[in-house]
Amino acid sequence: MNEITSTRNNYTIDPTLSVWGWEIPVYLFLGGMVAGMMLISGYFLFKGRQTEKNCSCFYLPYMSVILLSIGMFALFLDLEHKLYVWRLYTTFQITSAMSWGSWILVLVYPILLVNILIKPPKFLEEKFPQVINWKKYLLEKPILLKNIGIITMFFGAGIGLYTGVLLSSLGARPLWSSAILWLLFLVSGLSGAAAFVHVIAKDVYERELLAKADNAFLIIELFVIALFIIGLKTATEVQAQAADLLLTGEFAPSFWVFVISIGIIIPLIIQLLAVNHKVKHTALAPLMVIVGGLILRFIIVSAGQYSHWFNSNFH
């Protein structure tokens, strides 16, 4: 039997790491949602659905800008040395996922802006009449729009990947050192965004389409979660212990109830019934998916900090 004691007792480090609070999971969740939204609206652009009257691609970029800004503000709140935040943009660190992320975020804004120009808001048109000319220019160039759709999808995927890579690049945390964490976050972002569009879509066709897509994403997400867990369980001992945190340990109740049941299984059943017209479409199932996605981030971020190479018995 091993007895390990440590005299270290550093605030937010011991007995278990707790440097990242609500800000990071909120950011990761919103980033994932935005990623999913950009993929969906980019796809619609690519498909030329901007010719439809109520295409989601008209208002998803607005939502994206708002949600992304909230997310970035949360990220800012998390910084301990806030006055130095500008240091992010005086350098580019090629090995740092966070450096990549901060620059990607800077590029995403102009892309979303271009998306917005396809159907700019009234007040913008009134204030800056030249906006109307730009809109006309864009709408006359379907090939350009197709390409904007592709770029939007590309950067959307980039954000989605990044939210996962940010954690999995921190190899010191067994739970996060999984090669498919990016996929999990991307799929979860997609399912969340699909659920979101499902709720807000004005077009019946789109609503039906997104419900179906969401079902697909949820099924994929279940598989990815299974792969994620199996990957950890079959890796090193510390990673297996990290997986146990979710399966049977401290984080198990919230994982099984909120992430698996409320976040995936139950809404999946409801939506399967809905698309087969056994029940009516309601906002309930998609809201459950969104809440599940948020809690997934919370659990992954907390449990990841909880997981460690040493199972130390701190004094």
Binding site: E3, T7, Y11, T12, S18, G21, S254, I299, Q305, H315
Partner: protein, 736 residues
């Protein structure tokens, strides 16, 4: 689930160290080795290094304090100092925390409420000293000067001891004798005619075989000993550790003997049995210098390893093997005499057995054994002669404990106070010792205090005992004052100076000033003829051909080198009755005690009870360092070491809080359980000094549990009055 936010609200509110020491102004007194121009009221720019010696424990290591821009920065060991060799222990390094301790006493206090209620009014020094002087004068005229007792621990008390001698009281004591190393000193004196002393005359550094019986070097951070211990480990010495607990020292040992507590004497006797019966001892030494060896050999023949196995639970083979190991390396085999030796009431005889085992190794005055210490002989200050006390000291009426020699018994003073035998004690003057934690049976101490009409406590923090005082006097900490010269005997003789490094932040005063002022008020001014302590120190140093100015520069000056081992032609002298090493002691026989140590079985804990053992931690000294922010950061409470199998059986998790109840129904504070394989199943262990109940001592209040509180029972050593304290049994009370 939420481990994220759990600790968020615990924002650090305490000021950083820089802010805490902001109230610094350097007066002219603060001059160090590096002279700097000082404008009054302004902080000195740059780095100042000022030598002094440490006061975090009684080892008195030479140190150098660093000031950065006039603020205390750090303390390092003085490389010239033979005790520290330039490296302090964690307490010494954390010494700067003493200065910034937010619990420090700031001004003199006079009690206004009931004793122990900690209700005081702040007064001026004049008022406080007048109050004391008036009562001391009254006591002297009505009951005689011997009605006042001084309890004084550490070199800082020297000036108060001088005051008490001048006052005419023979009752000057420290708990370090009958509550700590007394049995060892008496046991060695009965055997070799000389004491072990402090620092111990143990040549650990050069020992090829070192035996530690209950000594937990490494957890006990007496600096030089630990440095030498590490050196011995590095050199590959055979370490044999005897302890019911797998101590740090045990982990460095070739042999770990997990002895049943209370049976150490049986093991020592069996070792001697093997060494004597197989003629493995130093024959030349025994022949030349031994007295009564044949009677000793005959006595010892009954204590075979097989007999000892039943008592100690140590396998006979291991007893033999370790005995051979000791004999193999003699005379460089050292059986460490320990320091805190008041365990079971037969401690002097156990210490004598340890002395005898050492004698069999012939290691007296030998490299790797007991060296011959020497000191820098600095004459005392030429004071007028003290008045001769009219009565004997009160601690040992009718020489009840015939071998209580040299030092006075603190528990004896308490007994005299309680019983008024041999005479009434009216006042206690307590310098820097928390008697409530130091003496066994707290209630007896409190009862004795209630009988007093004057109790004065001089200390730097409001320790528990201060809460019972009539007058509390706030002393400057060691970094702010001069003290007497340190001329401890050691491997190298030296004189060390303690000098102020920084000004006192509030109205604290150095003890020399307190003693001198009080002397004036007691009309004893002629005993303090010097103007200030610098004059006193300079006079003493000049009489040895040194000067204060020189010592202020260097901090340490070494005496001319002397030999610390006997050479081929040296004949050692033993100041015993026979002039030899007494294997058989006629003085003991004449006084009705065993001339050769005999073993008696210890009492067993009742079912469900464990023997309570206690010891030291490397970052604390007694109960007086607990509010030092560096040291309390590393250890703010103690833990209860409990065997993990027992913990499992009792359903107690590691880290869970429990309380302890002793055989007399006394219940402790809550204490965190350390469920561990590193201790036997029949005892529990905790570090001494915690669980204090003084509300004024805010940072320590109710942190951890107090072993002293649970030591309601003690077994008195009939030879010298030592209070054996490891005779208490506790059971575990689960916290509701």
């Amino acid at each position: 689930m939420n481990s994220l936010s759990r600790r968020r609200f615990l924002k650090i509110t305490g000021a950083t160290f820089g802010a805490a020491v902001a109230v610094t102004s350097l007066s002219e007194v603060v001059k160090g080795a590096e002279k700097v121009e000082i404008e009054s009221g302004k902080k000195v720019k740059g780095i100042q290094k000022i030598p002094t010696y440490c006061d975090l424990c009684f080892w008195k290591c030479g140190a150098i304090a660093y000031l950065k821009d006039g603020e205390l920065w750090k303390i390092e060991g003085n490389p010239k100092d033979p005790l520290s060799n330039g490296r302090l222990c964690p307490r010494g390094t954390g010494g700067i925390g003493v200065y910034s301790d937010s619990d420090r006493l700031k001004a003199p206090l006079i009690r206004k409420g009931e004793r122990g209620k900690e209700e005081f009014v702040q007064v001026t020094w004049d008022e406080a000293l007048d109050y004391i002087a008036e009562k001391m004068k009254k006591n002297k005229s009505e009951f005689g000067p011997e009605s006042m007792v001084l309890f004084s621990h550490g070199i800082g008390g020297n000036f108060l001891q001088h005051l008490f001698n001048a006052y005419g009281s023979p009752n000057i004591t420290a708990p370090s004798f009958t509550q700590c190393r007394g049995p060892r000193e008496v046991g060695f004196e009965l055997t070799f005619g000389d004491v072990v002393g402090s620092p111990e005359r143990t040549d650990i550094q050069n020992a090829k075989c070192l035996v530690l019986i209950g000594s937990h070097l490494g957890e006990n951070m007496h600096n030089t000993q630990v440095q030498e211990f590490a050196e011995a480990v590095e050199k590959g010495a055979t370490i044999i550790t005897v302890d019911p607990r797998f101590s740090v020292a045990a982990s460095k040992s070739k042999y770990y003997l997990p002895i049943k507590p209370g049976t150490d004497l049986a093991l020592i006797l069996a070792w001697m049995n093997v060494i004597v019966s197989e003629k493995l001892y130093d024959k030349e030494f025994v022949e030349n210098y031994g007295f009564g060896f044949d009677q000793f050999a005959y006595e010892i023949s009954q204590y075979t390893p097989e007999w000892a196995y039943i008592e100690t639970s140590i396998e006979p083979d291991i007893i033999r093997e370790t005995a051979y190991e000791m004999a193999r390396y003699k005379p460089a085999t050292l059986i460490h005499p320990g320091r805190h030796t008041t365990w079971y009431g037969d401690d002097t005889q156990r210490s004598r057995a340890i002395a005898l085992l050492n004698a069999l190794m012939g290691n007296w005055g030998k490299k790797g054994g007991f060296y011959i210490p020497y000191n820098y002989s600095i004459p005392k200050y030429p004071y007028p002669a003290y008045p001769k006390p009219l009565r004997e000291a009160a601690d040992n009426p009718n020489r009840k404990y015939p071998f209580a020699e040299g030092e006075k018994s603190s528990s004896g003073m308490r007994d005299a106070t309680l019983t008024e035998n041999p005479y009434s004690i009216k006042g206690w003057f307590i310098y820097a010792t928390n008697l409530l934690q130091a003496l066994p049976n707290m209630q007896e101490t409190i009862d004795a205090i209630q009988k007093l009409d004057l109790m004065v406590v001089v200390d730097v923090v409001p320790s528990e005992i201060a809460g019972y005082a009539d007058v509390v006097l706030p002393e400057s900490v060691y970094l702010e004052r001069y003290d007497d010269l340190n001329t401890s005997s050691f491997k190298e003789g030296f004189v060390g100076l303690r000098q102020p490094v920084i000004d006192s932040p509030n109205d604290q005063k150095p003890n020399w000033w307190i003693a001198k002022q009080l002397a004036n008020k007691l009309s004893l001014g002629k005993y303090f003829p010097w103007k200030n302590v610098e004059e006193y120190l300079d006079t003493r140093l000049k009489s040895a051909g040194l000067s204060l100015a020189e010592l202020k520069e260097k901090g340490i000056i070494k005496a001319p080198q002397q030999h610390i081992y006997y050479g081929e032609n040296d004949v050692p002298e033993f100041y015993t009755q026979s002039g030899k090493v007494e294997f058989y002691s006629i003085p003991l026989k004449d006084a009705g005690f065993d001339p050769v140590p005999k073993y008696t079985k210890p009492e067993e804990p009742p079912a469900g009870y464990f023997r309570l053992l206690f010891g030291r931690a490397p970052v604390h000294t007694f109960s007086k360092t607990l509010s030092n922010r560096f040291l309390s950061d590393l250890m703010s409470e103690n833990e209860l070491w409990l065997n993990s199998d027992i913990a499992k059986r009792l359903g107690i998790n590691n880290g869970e809080y429990v309380k302890l109840k002793n055989q007399d129904g006394v219940i402790s504070n809550k204490i965190k359980v350390k469920a561990t394989e590193r201790i036997r199943t029949d005892c529990v262990y905790m570090v001494h000094g915690f669980g204090q109940k003084a509300k004024m001592y805010r940072q320590t209040f109710n942190k951890g549990a107090s072993d002293a509180q649970l030591v309601t029972k003690y077994k008195v050593d009939p030879l010298m009055g030592g209070t054996g304290m490891n005779v208490n049994f506790v059971t575990i009370v689960l916290e509701a």
